[in-house]
Amino acid sequence: MKLWTLIPELIVGGLCLALVPIAGWVKGRWRYSIGIAAIIGLLVAIAFTARMLSWSPQMVMEIYAVDGLANVFKLLIELGAVITLLLLLSYFRGHTQLAHAPLAVLFVALGGLGLSSSMDLTLIILFLQMISFSSYVLAALVRSDGRALEASLKYFIFGAVCLAIMAYGLTFLYGMTGSLDLRVIGNALEGRDRMWIALTLGLILVGYGFEITMVPFHAWAPDVFAGATAPVSGFVAVVPKIAAFAGLVRLFLYALPNGLIGWPWMIAGLAAITMTFGNLAALRQQGLKRLLAYSSIAQAGYILMALAVLQRSPMATAAATYYLAAYLFMNLGAFAVVAQVERSVGTDQIEEIGGMGRSAPMVAAVFALSLLSLAGIPPLAGFAGKVYLLQATIDGNMLWLAIIGAINMVIGLFYYIRVIGEMYWRPAKHPFPLITGVGFTGAYAVLLFGTLALGIWPAPAMAVTGNVSQLVK
């Protein structure tokens, strides 16, 4: 076994094991050490993962793929975790959660790293559970907050049921093919009873749909996002979603070749429903976290467009990955600002940001750029991502889906600019000084750089995400 192919996982896993006992007894300023150690460890992991991009695809113990797809998604997951840790450092300054929160983030990241490489059904469900359980903990970080506890409980029950149904579906795959290996399953499924395959896929999509907030398994998201603290909401909206998309891409590419049982049409329909529902529901929201929750449901719908044409357009995988990279920066950017506002004024209602364009122009600019990027306005990351997605969709001969996507982007603009308008053309509600912190500033710098760079000069990032087409055979 080539242990060095697992270096990122070993670093993150080692950090988890080492930091858990320490986090229990550190006090006062020493609580920072946990988060800082986690950030440093993740940065090292990022360096190794980036180095591994040029390696040729290989299998570890025949169940764990270390290929371009896995490495690119690992980079995104590690990056998302680092940025979230930065935010948490400033958000929980002086609170006991300062020491505990980074641990849960690390566990989610570890689960994500594992899921993006898993080629084996048991590993898939294992890592999905790992991601989800740590996310439940994250949602309940502030134990004195009743809404957070309620959110966490809802999250837990919803997630447990969805993942159980998915596990049930995975057993069908084993039953039909006698193998846990996605590649073997893919070869054996052709010619089987189509009804059974359809049923199985439906059951598996329940679990993945839960993770990526696909309608109709999205119902937990608005409540959990609104109940949890804003940095956590941002993290849960981004990292588990990226990991689950990696799993979904693997499932479709390996286990369901040649558009078996017409799954592309199924996914296309779900994409259309998901984005339309997310956008329409976001129109009427008053809480920023809830609004961003519905927005991230809609964003998941956009990415599903590329998944629908995964086998019909050669650029689809790269397009979905690029969009996820853009989504990482812009969505975390929006949640970061909400986190700072929430920390400063105690609530996330939309009128709280009134007049922020004057009282906190820099923060307002970050928020505005993130939202415009989510809406797909050039030259920002979301624009380049959307062009890529639409292009892949049209290339995959699903013009109708691209048109529905474009219409949705118009609807989406409506609520994003409503928030921007609130900042710029309302009198100030609070004579701010916002609570600041190095964590916020650092996170803004990274996020803003990503949002601008991925939009203005996409070539380098596209070269990196282009690696996803390197798959193990």
Binding site: Q391, I394, L399, A402, V410, A459
Partner: protein, 494 residues
Amino acid sequence: MPILLEITIWLPFVTGLLALLVPTRRAKPIQALGLAGALVTMAVALTLAFRYAAGSPGLQFRTTLPWIPSLNATYDMAVDGLSLPLIVLTCILLVAVMAYSLREADRPKGFTFLFLLMATGLNGLFAAQDLLLFYVFFEISLVPLYFIIGIWGHENRRYAAMKFFLYTRFGSLAMLLSFLALYLSVRPHTFSLAQIAAAHPFAGGGSGAALVLLGLMLGYGVKLPVVPLHNWLPDAHVEAPTEGSVMLAGALLKMGGYGMLRIMLATVPDAVRQAGWVLVTIAVVSVVYGALAALGQRDFKRLVAYTSINHMGYVLLGAAIYAMSSDPRVRALALTGATYQMVSHGLLTGGMFFMVGILQEKTDTRDLDRLGGLIGRAPLYSLLLALLAFGSLGLPGLSGFVAEFQVIGATVSLSLLAAVITVIGLLINTGVYLKVIAKLLMGAAPGGICPMTEPTPMRLVVVGSLTALSLLLGIAPMLLVQIIRGATEISAVL
């Protein structure tokens, strides 16, 4: 010297960034910086125009850099006779706006930055030779106006700003889908306008070409605007601050016209020809509807806004005639007329919106029924207003006449009926402006006093220069026509 074009495109943006970063809260230094940046940009743009070799067809001042190699999208900037006049127009209007707004004190940093950003967007758009690049600059030009209307606009600004943004975004996404279809229809895939035009992927028309044309028409039709996609325009104009209206009417509407001439005609000429009568109908309806709607307005600003629909109809008419006719002389006439109309309208209507702004500032109203007798109180203002009005109604000697005469002339060769209806629209428009002159300048203010005085010399100079340019282009049309002509000849080859 391609660097001249790059400076014209990027200098406004750089100046805007500087204005944001100047460590002062006082308005004067920021505004001075903005005006200086605009003046230098205009000087460079004029140098560009003088150095432009009018005789030789094809693209000049070209810069090509790799941008997104994996998508075959390049940073490809160049000008020809179609785009150069619009770039110069944008730079002139930018100077006018910056000079006009010297007295504005509300949040000068953002104000200056947004207008300069918009200028960069417009110049980049007019120079872009790559569809994706064109799209990027298309949206960069739109977003600043959204903020300008929303922050500095009048009472109902939030509604107007949102309506403006949603309408144009709808149009631009439809356009983007068409761009993607064009991109995917050529092998190897490319966003390069020249390569797509040369490959001519939708030769002979058909349903695919019709869909592409529909997407492009939605994009440019919203922007131009044509009936029935015009609904956002009156609201946006009425609520926008004066400077915003000037840029909107003067330069932003041209994005639609330019897109039709440059991209629609180059990529799907057969589809345009097949749909020619539909487009002619839309254009003629716009011409007549814009004039009729203007006739019914009491609000001076709304009236001018509706006449824009009338004027811009000629651009679509010119484009349609160009595609339908096979006679090169008619085609040249149509294209020259359409381009001329864009420049002329930018000067005249830009000036007219300044006049509306001055009037509103002095008298606190734009209601034509409550104003009158200005000629006695502000003779210079009245003179300029009259000149602009005569230019807008197409009086010979001013630029509007040259433009409309050419388009109508080209239309006659194809359809007498369309030409006659257009002339009817022209007549109604004449009535509109004669009404304005009669109500505002002549007679006496109903109810007695009208608190109008002469505007500041700076503002008179701003509007006066725009009017003088229109006069110049009216008297010596060859100045502009010879620049445009190079473009018409190259397009005729495509």
